[in-house]
C-alpha cells in the first residue's frame, strides 16, 4: 500500500539514482514546488467538501483563449483502506468519459498527483445549484421561485436524466446540491447534473447494486430502497426528482426524515414515516411487490400496522389535485417503482406543454417578471489544494486579501472583489501538462473529455455581479462557505 509505506518511497527518492534520471516529461521539481499541471490555474479557494474530498474554484491562466475561465476542481481523497486509486474517482471519470449532454456536467480535464496517487477532476464551473437557489428564496427573498424557472429547471433536469437513463446509467444520488445551474454567460440558467461518484451502469451488474452500500441522501431516497430492495432501477432517480420538484415549489424538503446513523444500512423508520404521512400507507394492492421487500416483510418496527389517512400531497405543495403539475408530481412519487413515471414519459407530460413553456435559460425568461440575483458561491480562500486550511474554517469568508498559504502566484482572495467572469460552459482544450504517460504514448494528448472547439467567452461582467459579491461577502454561511454541501451531507452519505 503506497500510503502506508511513505518511507520506502522516500528512500527511493533519496537514492542517488533517481535524482539524475532522464525524466521524460513534466516533473514537480520546479522552483515553486507546485506540480506543473497546477500552474495552469489560479486557485481561488475551496467551494465544497464531501466524503469524497474537496472542490476548489480555479481559473485558467492559459491558454489565452480560455484565460480567466472558471473551473471547478474536484480533489478526491485517496481511498482509505490504502487499496490503490479511489474507486469513486475512477467510476466518476470512466462514466463521464462516455457521456456528453448539455444537462450533464462537463469533465474538461483529469490531473494526477502522483506523489499521493490522488486525482483531480476539472469541470466547467457552475455558479449556482438548486440547494442555494432554494435557500436564497426561502431565507433571503421570501417569495417562491417563478413558475417559469421551476418548470425550466425541472424540464432540463429530466432531459439530462433521460439521457443518462437511456445510456443505462443511474445517478443514485440526486439532490438539490447536485443539480447545478450555470451563472452568467453563454450557458446562463442551464441545468447540469453533477456528482457521478455514486452513479452506476445498471445493465447486468455482477453483484446486486445494493452491495455498494446504501446510497442517496435519505430525504430523496425512494421507498423501495428504504424498504431494503436489492435490485433497484432508474426509478430511484425519478423519486428523487419528485422530491426536488416539490421542494422547488414549496422551498422546503418534502420528506425531512431524521436519519438513523448506525448500524450500517439501518432501517430508516422516520424517513418512511414522513413519506407515509404525506402519501398515505402503501398497500400490496397498489404495490404488488411490496410484501417481498425485506424491511416490509420483517416488519420489526411494525410499519405494516401504521395506518395513515390518504394522501395530503396536494395540500403540502398547495396544488389542486386536478392541476397538471400535481398530476406530474404524483406520478413521480408513485410507490411502485414499476408504475413510477420515467424521465422520458415525464418530458412528454402536459405540464410542459402549457404556459409558461420551459426554456433554456431557467433563470431569465420572457415570463419572469422579476429576475432574481442569486448570490455567487461562497469561496473559502484560506484553503489550498492540499486541503489544509491556514485559518479556522468556521470563520466566515470575509477577507478580500486572504491569499492561500502554499499557492504563491495565485491571485487568491483578491479575485472575489474584482469583477470576475461567470462560469461558462462549453468545450475547451487544455494543455496536457503533468500527465507524462499521455504525452509519451498518445497522440490524443490528455484525451479526457476534450473537444478542440473553444466556445467564445463573454468577457463583460456586469455591475450586478459585483453587487452580488458584496452581498455574498457579508452573509454568514452556516455551511462554512461550502455552497451546496450542507454539513449533514457527510453523514447522510454512506
Amino acid at each position: 500500500m503506497l500510503r502506508s509505506q511513505p518511507i520506502s518511497w522516500d528512500s527511493k527518492m533519496g537514492d542517488g539514482n533517481s535524482g539524475s534520471n532522464r525524466t521524460l516529461s513534466g516533473n514537480n521539481n520546479n522552483s515553486s514546488n507546485k506540480p506543473e499541471w497546477l500552474q495552469q490555474y489560479d486557485l481561488i479557494g475551496k467551494i465544497g467538501e464531501g466524503t469524497y474530498g474537496l472542490v476548489f474554484l480555479a481559473r485558467i491562466k492559459s491558454p489565452t483563449t480560455n484565460r480567466g475561465k472558471s473551473i471547478a476542481i474536484k480533489k478526491f481523497k485517496q481511498s482509505k483502506d490504502g487499496d490503490g486509486v479511489s474507486p469513486t474517482a475512477i467510476r466518476e471519470i470512466m462514466l463521464l468519459r462516455e457521456i456528453s449532454h448539455e444537462n450533464v456536467v462537463k469533465l474538461v480535464n483529469v490531473h494526477i498527483n502522483h506523489a499521493d496517487m490522488s486525482l483531480y477532476l476539472a469541470f466547467d464551473y457552475a455558479e449556482h445549484d438548486l440547494y442555494e437557489i432554494i435557500r436564497h428564496h426561502r431565507d433571503k427573498v421570501n417569495h417562491s421561485i417563478s413558475q417559469y424557472t421551476v418548470k425550466s429547471l425541472l424540464w432540463q433536469l429530466l432531459n439530462g436524466l433521460n439521457y443518462l437513463h437511456s445510456n443505462w446509467i443511474i445517478h443514485r444520488d440526486l439532490k438539490p446540491s447536485n443539480i447545478l445551474v450555470m451563472g452568467e454567460g453563454e450557458e446562463q440558467g442551464v441545468v447540469k447534473i453533477a456528482d457521478f461518484g455514486l452513479a452506476r451502469i445498471y445493465q447486468a451488474p455482477l453483484k446486486p447494486l445494493s452491495d455498494n452500500g446504501v446510497v442517496v441522501t435519505i430525504w430523496y431516497r425512494a421507498p423501495e430502497l428504504l424498504l431494503g430492495a436489492k435490485h433497484y432501477t432508474s426509478a430511484v432517480d425519478m423519486w428523487a426528482v419528485g422530491c426536488i420538484f416539490a421542494e422547488l415549489l414549496t422551498l422546503k424538503p418534502l420528506f425531512q426524515g431524521a436519519e438513523v446513523k448506525a448500524p450500517p444500512n439501518p432501517f430508516q423508520l422516520d424517513q418512511l414515516d414522513k413519506i407515509f404521512k404525506v402519501l398515505g400507507h402503501p398497500t400490496p394492492e397498489k404495490w404488488p411487490t411490496l410484501p417481498n421487500l425485506p424491511h416490509w416483510q420483517q416488519d420489526l418496527q411494525h410499519i405494516q400496522g401504521h395506518k395513515y389517512d390518504n394522501t395530503g400531497l396536494n395540500s403540502v405543495v398547495h396544488l389542486s389535485t386536478k392541476s397538471p403539475p400535481y398530476d406530474l408530481l404524483s406520478k413521480m412519487l408513485e410507490y411502485d417503482p414499476r408504475k413510477r413515471i420515467t424521465a422520458q414519459q415525464a418530458l412528454e407530460h402536459e405540464y410542459f406543454r402549457i404556459e409558461p413553456l420551459p426554456g433554456r435559460n431557467a433563470l431569465v425568461g420572457p415570463s419572469v417578471e422579476k429576475v432574481v440575483n442569486y448570490p455567487t458561491r461562497p469561496v473559502d480562500t484560506t484553503t489550498d489544494f492540499e486541503g489544509t486550511t491556514s485559518l479556522q474554517p468556521s470563520q466566515p469568508v470575509s477577507s478580500g486579501n486572504a491569499v492561500s498559504g502554499s499557492m504563491p502566484g495565485t491571485h487568491g482572495g483578491t479575485m472575489r472583489s474584482v469583477p470576475r467572469q461567470m462560469a461558462v460552459g462549453g468545450m475547451q482544450r487544455m494543455q496536457p501538462q503533468g500527465m507524462p504517460a499521455y504525452n509519451l504514448t498518445s497522440q490524443a494528448g490528455m484525451g479526457v473529455g476534450m473537444n478542440p472547439s473553444g466556445i467564445p467567452m463573454q468577457r463583460g461582467v456586469s455591475a450586478q455581479t459585483h453587487q452580488q459579491q458584496q452581498q455574498q461577502l457579508r452573509r454568514k454561511d452556516p455551511a462554512m462557505g461550502m455552497a451546496g454541501y450542507p454539513p449533514q451531507q457527510k453523514s447522510r452519505r454512506m
Binding site: 539514482n17 534520471n21 486509486v85 502522483h114
Partner: protein, 333 residues
C-alpha cells in the same frame, strides 16, 4: 451499458491492422533507442509520477562491443510475450473464479496498454496483474490488491505501483465492451429467429457454449482491437454453428442486417467474420524454447542479463526501497 455507438471503445480503440502494426513498431523502436542510449529499457516510476529509464550502466561505453550489449526484442518476440501473459491472465482469472466479463475487461486493458508501451518498458507480469485488479474495480467486483497478490503469491505492492500508469495509458477509457453479452443477445435472437421448440433448446445451449469457448480464443488474438464486440460474437457463433449445424447462418446474418437497416452489406460482414476467424487460425503460442530465449533477452534488456550486471543490480537494489528490490526479485522469477 452506455451506448456502444458513442462509446470511447468504438470511437478510439478500434483500429485498422495497419494502425496496430505501426503502434507496435513505434513502441518497439522507442525501447530499442532507450536500450542503445541507456543500456536498459525498463521504465521506472518516480515518486513524482514521471517515468524514466534507468541510469546508464557506467560501463556501457567501455563494453560497447557488440556481444555484451543486450539485444532488444523484435516485434514478433514482443507479440509472443503478450500472448504468453494473456494466457496467464486467463489462468489467474479462472483460479479466482472471476466472471467472464472481468477476464475480458482485463484482457482488453492489457492489449490496450501494450499498444502504448513495449514489453521491454513495463514488466508484463506486473501489468497483467494490475489489469486484473483494475478490471475488478471497474466491474464492481472489488478485490483488494492484497487479496489478489496473496492468491498468486505476488507482492501486491507491484499491483498498486502500476495502477495509475495503467489507467493513464488507457486514457481513463475504462468502460469496455466484451463480446459475451453480445453472444447472449444473439442466442436469444436466434431462438426467436429459428422459432425454436422446447425440445430443440439443448441444441441452442450447445451452440451457446461452444460460441463462448470460441470467443475465449478470439479474445487472445488482436481481433478485439480490430473489430467491435458484436462482430466477435457473430464470428464465434458462426464457428460454433459449423460444429452444431443449428441454423443457416448466412440467412440469419441477412436477417440481422435487414432488421437493423445496417449500412453494412452482407459481404462486408462475412468478410469481417472471416478475418476474425483467420486471426484465430494464425494464433501462435510460443514454444518453451522461444520463451526461454525471449526471457533471456528481456532480462538483459532490463539490466539483469549477464552475471556481472545482475550482481551489480542486486547490490544497488539493497540500497533501494523494498518495493524495488521486490521488483527485482520478481523480474528474476
Amino acid at each position: 451499458m452506455a451506448d456502444f455507438q458513442t462509446s470511447t471503445h468504438r470511437t478510439k480503440w478500434i483500429f485498422t491492422p495497419q494502425e496496430l502494426v505501426e503502434k507496435y513498431k513505434a513502441a518497439n523502436q522507442r525501447a530499442i533507442q532507450a536500450l542503445e542510449k541507456y543500456g536498459a529499457t525498463l521504465m521506472e516510476v518516480d515518486i513524482d509520477g514521471s517515468l524514466s529509464y534507468p541510469e546508464p550502466q557506467t560501463n556501457a561505453k567501455d563494453t560497447a562491443d557488440k556481444h555484451s550489449r543486450p539485444k532488444p526484442l523484435n516485434i514478433e518476440e514482443e507479440q509472443y510475450m503478450r500472448v504468453f501473459y494473456e494466457n496467464k491472465l486467463q489462468e489467474v482469472c479462472n483460479n479466482f473464479h472471476f466472471p467472464h466479463k472481468i477476464q475480458a475487461t482485463a484482457l482488453i486493458y492489457f492489449k490496450r496498454f501494450y499498444l502504448q508501451w513495449s514489453i521491454m518498458e513495463h514488466h508484463p507480469k506486473n501489468i497483467m496483474l494490475t489489469c486484473i485488479y483494475g478490471a475488478c474495480k471497474i466491474e464492481e467486483n472489488h478485490v483488494s490488491a492484497e487479496e489478489l497478490g496473496k492468491g498468486i503469491s505476488q507482492d501486491h505492492q507491484l499491483i498498486l505501483n502500476n495502477e495509475m500508469i495503467v489507467y493513464q495509458s488507457l486514457e481513463f477509457d475504462l468502460i469496455v465492451y466484451a463480446p459475451y453479452r453480445s453472444i447472449d443477445g444473439f442466442v436469444n435472437d436466434i431462438e426467436e429467429f429459428c422459432q425454436t421448440k422446447d425440445d430443440q433448446l439443448h441444441m441452442l445451449k450447445a451452440l451457446h457454449e461452444t460460441a463462448r469457448m470460441e470467443v475465449d480464443k478470439i479474445m487472445l488474438t488482436d481481433a478485439p482491437l480490430l473489430f467491435p464486440p458484436g462482430q466477435l460474437a457473430l464470428a464465434s457463433l458462426r464457428s460454433s454453428n459449423e460444429v452444431h449445424g443449428v441454423l443457416d447462418f448466412e440467412r440469419y446474418l441477412r436477417s440481422i442486417l435487414s432488421r437493423q437497416s445496417s449500412a453494412h452489406t452482407i459481404s462486408e460482414l462475412i468478410e469481417s467474420l472471416s478475418a476474425i476467424d483467420s486471426w484465430v487460425r494464425r494464433y501462435k503460442f510460443p514454444s518453451e524454447k522461444d520463451l526461454k530465449h525471449i526471457n533471456r533477452k528481456l532480462r538483459s534488456c532490463w539490466g539483469l542479463g549477464s552475471h556481472d550486471e545482475s550482481k551489480k543490480r542486486e547490490k544497488k537494489s539493497k540500497h533501494k526501497s523494498k518495493k524495488s528490490s521486490n521488483e527485482t526479485q520478481n523480474m528474476q522469477s
